[in-house]
């Protein structure tokens, strides 16, 4: 029995040893949670926020800049003794608000009592001046300055986008772990697309500290520290005067106006109406204002210039004409009778050639042209024939940048739609469709969808006689920089350059004696344009659309204007576009009556 007891003691000792060693193995080797906790205990990560890049217009006019803003941080462990009465006095809070603020603070997931935690955010200059001197009476609290966006003009809201606190979803998607909760990030427009360039590189300094939070020196002699690099400035292609003027003209209207410099693809003006004041979505009142703006039934946050997909209407006839010439189904001299029994038409004309058909926007002419493209007689069966014809047609149309994203340097661009044979197979749930089912495409109605940016790019392509540069907002990344490389590349259409002269001639005629002759014509500048009137559900008025470029030779500006529910395209859209050209090329408009007509916005 005594021997058993001797062994029992030995067993107890060995057992205790084994339990400890196993438990230690789990704590020390198997679980690295403790190592991380130790780092967060002793490592202080000081982040140096670089200044966000500024945004300029093409003439060096400042559009977006930074203004200082102050966040109040707290290290809860260091707040003793905490004088709540004094705090409430300094910050003008009630005791309940203070208690609530503390409770919310402690609920936060990242909350650690020995880590600096955001307590009050976005104190204004005025608040900061008030509390600055009294801050040393409140141990554990300190101010971190950061900058917030400020806007020198209420214009360009949708193109610029806004900057706000990073959301939980964005944080989860940030696989490189560049951002932390509470960081600010560009949320739409240029601010989002050029986030990497604008935000610069944050500097990080690692410091060791003791349990009281007192810094004990740099970690590993600063081996892991990085310097902050300020964000790059962006020079946009925007002409601020033109932008502001266009916004004025579009005021009270729904739609979009886009102007592009054809020789470079730089966007001169990008207007989406209705819009909002970008100054609303910055600073302390961001949340309240954002709720207002996003709940607005006019959808001011919806950037119509790239996101609204419209049927293009008669402006599409230019693309039809170019494609038909390239395919050889017509020549410029081909005359087709205006047979209004097939499709409705307007104006007085009977048997035009191509130029006349464009100038008068003759529907039966293009109905016939489209038939020739779709039904070439390559197959006996009319269904197969239509399939072959549409596929060939689609390839040409797509080369104008229709039906796909252009790749503008703004987020959320929409593709639009140019139907393919597959599209109709799906829509009809059969391959048994032919020209007679799809002829509305001929005049830009039917299933076609185009966004205003594509329309403006289309105008620029005609201005360039057959090629375009991808439209872009930013002409220089950094003060002496270049645009992004993809914006330096020419995209050619599948159409022979020589055919475009027919279109240019016809478009000049549109403005001088055709559908836009009264309002778009200018005395000293030759404008080439094309109107469109897109069918709308009665009793709403039709949508008005106009594309144009000027001057005819060596064009400086190409424009697309789309005004919803504004009736005949020769009125609302052509007037706005011609005023824009006047403003841009001459600096001033000399037609006060026309301006008043547009501003009144009746268009009857």
């Amino acid at each position: 029995m005594n021997d058993a007891r001797k062994h029992l003691l030995n067993v107890l000792v060995v057992l205790a040893g084994i339990v400890f060693i196993v438990k230690l193995f789990f704590i020390q080797v198997a679980d690295n949670k403790y190592a991380q906790l130790a780092d967060s205990n002793a490592l202080l990560r000081e982040v140096e926020y670089p200044v966000r890049g500024l945004i300029y217009d093409r003439h060096g006019e400042l559009i977006v800049h930074n203004s200082p803003e102050y966040d109040l941080y707290v290290v809860v462990k260091d707040t003793h003794p905490f004088d709540s009465a004094r705090f409430c006095h300094v910050f003008d809070m009630t005791r309940e608000q203070l208690c609530l603020a503390f409770r919310e603070l402690k609920m936060r997931k990242e909350y650690k009592p020995f880590k600096p935690t955001l307590f009050l955010k976005q104190l204004s200059n005025v608040d900061f001046a008030k509390i600055q001197d009294r801050l040393d009476e409140l141990p554990g609290f300190f101010i971190q300055a950061r900058t917030t966006r400020s806007y020198s003009t209420p214009s360009l809201a949708n193109a610029l986008g806004y900057v706000s606190e990073i959301s939980k979803e964005q944080l989860a998607r940030d696989s490189l772990k560049l951002y932390r909760q509470g960081d600010y990030i560009g949320q739409s427009g240029i601010e989002q697309f050029y986030e990497a360039e604008l935000s610069g590189t944050r500097g990080v300094r690692f410091k060791l500290r003791n349990a009281k939070g007192i810094v004990q020196g740099s970690f590993n002699k600063g081996k892991f520290d990085t310097l902050s690099r300020p964000g790059l400035d962006l020079i946009t292609g925007i002409d601020l005067k033109l932008q502001q003027y266009t916004e004025l003209l579009m005021k009270g209207k729904a739609g979009s106006a886009v102007a592009i410099e054809p020789a470079t693809g730089e966007i001169l003006a990008l207007v989406s109406g209705p819009s909002y004041d970008p100054g609303l979505l910055t600073g302390k009142d961001f949340s309240a204002n954002f709720r207002l703006v996003s709940a607005d039934t006019n959808k001011p946050l919806f950037n119509r210039a790239l996101m609204a997909q419209y049927r293009p209407g008669s402006i599409f006839k230019i693309a039809q004409a170019m494609t038909a010439l390239q395919q050889g189904v017509i020549t410029p001299d081909t005359r087709i009778r205006c047979d209004r029994s097939v499709i409705a038409c307007h104006g007085r004309h009977t048997n035009e050639d191509l130029r006349g058909a464009i100038a008068n926007s003759c529907n039966p002419y293009f109905h016939q042209v489209f038939r020739r493209m779709i039904q070439k007689g390559k197959a006996d069966d009319p269904f197969t024939d239509s399939h072959l014809g549409l596929a060939e047609w689609h390839a040409h149309i797509e080369s104008f940048g229709f039906g796909k994203k252009l790749g503008v340097d703004l987020p959320n661009e929409k593709e639009g739609l140019i139907p393919t044979p597959r599209y109709y197979d799906k829509a009809y749930r059969s391959t048994a469709w032919k020209f007679s089912n799809i002829f509305s495409l001929s005049i830009g109605e039917g299933e076609n969808l185009v966004v205003p940016l594509q329309m403006a790019n289309f105008a620029a392509t005609i201005a360039n006689r057959g090629f375009f540069y991808t439209p872009h907002m930013v002409k220089a990344v950094g003060q002496d920089g270049k645009p992004l490389p993809q914006f330096l590349e020419r995209h050619y259409t599948t159409i022979d350059s020589s055919f475009f002269n027919v279109a240019v001639d016809a478009m000049q005629e549109v403005v001088e004696s055709g559908t836009a002759s009264y309002r778009a014509k200018l005395q000293d500048i030759v404008i080439c344009g094309k109107t469109g009137t897109v069918q709308n559900e009665p009793p709403l008025k039709d949508h008005a659309v106009f594309i144009c470029f000027a001057p005819r030779e060596n064009p400086k500006i190409a424009i697309a204007v789309y005004v919803e529910d504004a009736g005949f395209g020769g009125r609302a859209a052509a007037s706005i576009a011609s005023l824009m050209i006047e403003k841009y090329l001459l600096g001033e408009t000399q037609r006060p009556l026309m301006e008043a007509y547009v501003l009144a916005g009746k268009f009857d």
């Binding site: 230690l24 704590i27 020390q28 080797v29 130790a38 500290r209 349990a211």
Partner: protein
């Protein structure tokens, strides 16, 4: 004769002792080390420098112990016991206050804790009583005297509010068991402790009562259904239920608030990691962050920057864990296991009952310190402020353990002679 005495000392134990003391010293330096200040391990202004003096003094104490006559210890046992009891009575009156407890006796700037030596003296007194001619472990009167011997210093130390050291005395029950006492008391104690902890872990006590009732029923139904047997099982079930019912009372009324919190911290350290969970949480972080190889000597951040409380004394094991990793903690735990097994071996080779009983006293004291101290740093036991032998900073504790161990070695070195004399 002299040479013979020294060569008869158990050099395995001495080797382990020297390794532990040296490792303890280096780790105490690691705790106070400050790169910027650049003070050396010898600096007397630092704990490490002072610990070196304590170590030097221990060597003198060892020599005195070895030179002393063998019979002194047995003869001195009761006298020393009486003396230490008087000191323990006096401490609350004339002692000086250190860290809220009056446990120190000061002579000028020099202070000692009588409670550290009370363990040694009690071990001697227990051994001497067990070695008395005619002593029988199953005699109730003898048992009562033994419990009185350990109970008196324990009670006096409890009065000093040094619960940790007082609890060490309960470990003598293991000695009584080894010397022939019925295991009933131990089983009862361990059983109560298990039920106590279960009660804390299980949120709803109804399940426990139900469990007890079901087990009692099963025992009754499976065995012979005799009246006395049913009565015993029922009584046992009632007793267990009584323990369960007493838990809340003990926790909230018997234990002081800081002791309640230490129990709570053990059950769930994350409930209030900054309040009562701080010690355990930080201690585990420090040890856990060491990884397999550790951060390297003097490279620890947790222990150095004061995240762990009482780092050079009760929580010295954290420094080992952080700077030397699992390799280091494995080595230290192994050293203790080796030392304890060696003491069992020494105890078992004694022919003399006094030495044997004393050796077991030494064993259980070291065992208690080892398990409770390391257990609390890794969250297996509640925080009880007792040092890790030979590692923790402090003169009284180092000398107390040194005396305890080397008196055993001295007695052991004469084991042949004792036999001859009889």
């Amino acid at each position: 004769m002299r040479r013979n005495e020294i060569s008869n000392l158990d050099w395995v134990t001495i080797l382990i002792y020297l390794m532990m003391v040296a490792m303890g010293w280096f780790n105490i330096y690691a705790v106070v080390y400050d790169e910027a200040a650049g003070r050396s391990i010898w600096d007397l202004g630092l704990n490490s420098g002072r610990q070196l003096i304590f170590i030097g003094a221990s060597f003198i104490i060892i020599m005195v112990i070895v030179i002393m006559d063998l019979r002194f210890y047995e003869a001195f046992a009761y006298v020393g016991y009486g003396f230490i009891v008087i000191l323990l009575v006096l401490v609350p009156v004339i002692g000086k206050e250190v860290g809220g407890n009056k446990a120190w006796l000061g002579i000028g700037s020099f202070g000692v804790q009588p409670s550290e030596f009370a363990k040694f003296i009690t071990a001697l007194a227990v051994a001497k009583y067990i070695a008395t001619v005619g002593f029988k472990m199953d005699n109730f009167r003898n048992q009562a005297v033994l419990f009185f011997i350990i109970g008196l210093p324990m009670a006096l130390i409890l009065l000093q509010k040094d619960t940790g050291t007082a609890l060490v005395f309960t470990s003598f029950i293991l000695v009584f068991y080894r010397e022939g006492m019925s295991p009933f008391l131990i089983i009862l104690g361990v059983g109560a402790a298990v039920i106590f902890i279960l009660t804390l872990l299980v949120p709803n006590q109804i399940y426990l009562y139900a469990g007890v009732a079901v087990i009692a029923l099963v025992i009754i139904l499976l065995g012979k259904k005799k009246a006395w047997r049913i009565a015993w099982v029922t009584l046992g079930a009632c007793l267990i239920s009584g323990v369960i019912a007493s838990v809340d009372y003990v926790i909230s009324d018997v234990l002081k608030p800081h002791q309640q919190n230490r129990i709570k911290a053990l059950i769930n350290p994350d409930a209030d990691p900054l309040g009562y969970g701080w010690n355990v949480t930080q201690s585990k972080i420090a040890i856990g962050s060491g990884g397999f190889w550790g951060k390297g000597f003097l490279e620890g951040t947790q222990t150095k920057f004061d995240f762990v409380p009482e780092q050079s004394t009760d929580f010295i094991f954290c420094t080992i864990g952080e700077e030397h990793g699992w390799v280091g903690t494995f080595l230290v735990v192994s050293l203790f296991v080796a030392l304890l097994l060696r003491i069992v071996h020494l105890a078992e080779r004694q022919k003399n009952r006094f030495t044997r009983a004393y050796a077991y006293g030494v064993l259980v004291i070291f065992f208690f310190h080892f398990t409770i101290n390391i257990g609390m740093t890794i969250g297996l036991f509640p925080v009880i402020g007792i040092p890790l032998p030979f590692f923790s900073y402090g003169g009284s504790s180092l000398w107390g353990f040194t005396v305890l161990l080397f008196v055993l070695l001295k007695l052991d070195s004469h084991r042949g002679e004792v036999l001859q004399r009889i």
